[in-house]
């Protein structure tokens, strides 16, 4: 798939921004998304190549504006919805409910 993940040779992205002593996870939610993705991989509904392709299918503009684990989250949500394990509608309903609780 000729999508935004395939960046080799593209200009205009700027220099790679090295972070000294970079933590493995910049925030707790990143750690959880990594763990959730690995755990769901163990569930056996998809293989690692399928999960990579799910991340690659993040729409180009969204992909380029996303951080690494935001892309992992996007991929995981796509796989959960496509396998019927957790639909987009269920995720949206839960997000709406959590936002309402937070106010």
């Amino acid at each position: 798939m000729n999508s935004a993940h395939d960046l080799g040779g593209m200009d205009g992205l700027g220099p790679i921004d090295y972070e000294m002593d970079e933590p493995v996870f910049h925030a707790e939610w990143e750690r959880r998304i990594f763990a959730l993705t690995v755990a769901m991989g163990f569930y056996g509904a998809w293989n690692i190549d399928t999960s990579r392709h799910a991340r690659e299918r993040t729409p180009a503009a969204e992909y380029l504006a996303s951080s690494y684990y935001e892309i992992w989250l996007s991929g995981l949500e796509k796989l959960l919805d496509e396998t019927g394990l957790l639909t987009r509608a269920e995720i949206d309903a839960r997000t709406t409910a959590l936002r309402a609780e937070a106010r």
Binding site: M1, N2, D6, G8, G9, V38, A39, F42, Y43, G44, A45, W46, N47, I48, D49, T50, R52, H53, E56
Partner: protein, 116 residues
């Protein structure tokens, strides 16, 4: 795919999951062979980057036999085949503006390559 049991998860996390396949298929190419990357633009998953398609390089080494991601990602089987480290000169990839001293090595599956 059956779900992994919790007791086996820790062992797998420590060991890592390898994509190496047990099947032994014939290698189409050998180190030293000149190869061209096919003109391919699959709508699905591939590990052949766009910038290397239609470029010519030299087989540097044979890594052995691995699962083929292009088929595996879409539930079409593991289609095990040889993966090579292929050397491309910078000028073969980017043209005359590139340094004459640089080269890039890319791991490419058998199905991506044609003989030159």
């Amino acid at each position: 795919m059956p779900a992994l049991k919790a007791k086996d998860a820790l062992a797998l996390l420590r060991k890592g999951g390898s994509a190496r396949a047990k099947a032994e298929g014939p290698a189409k190419f050998a180190p030293g062979d000149r190869v061209a990357v096919r003109n391919m633009n699959p709508r699905g998953h591939t590990r052949a980057p766009r910038y290397i398609r239609c470029k010519t390089g030299t087989i540097d080494r044979d890594h052995g036999v691995f699962v083929f991601p292009d088929s595996h990602a879409h539930g079409k089987g593991s289609c095990p085949q040889h993966v090579y480290s292929v050397r491309f000169t910078a000028r073969d990839v980017w043209g005359d503006d590139a340094s004459s001293r640089d080269a890039i090595y890319i791991d490419l599956w058998d199905d991506y390559l044609t003989p030159v």
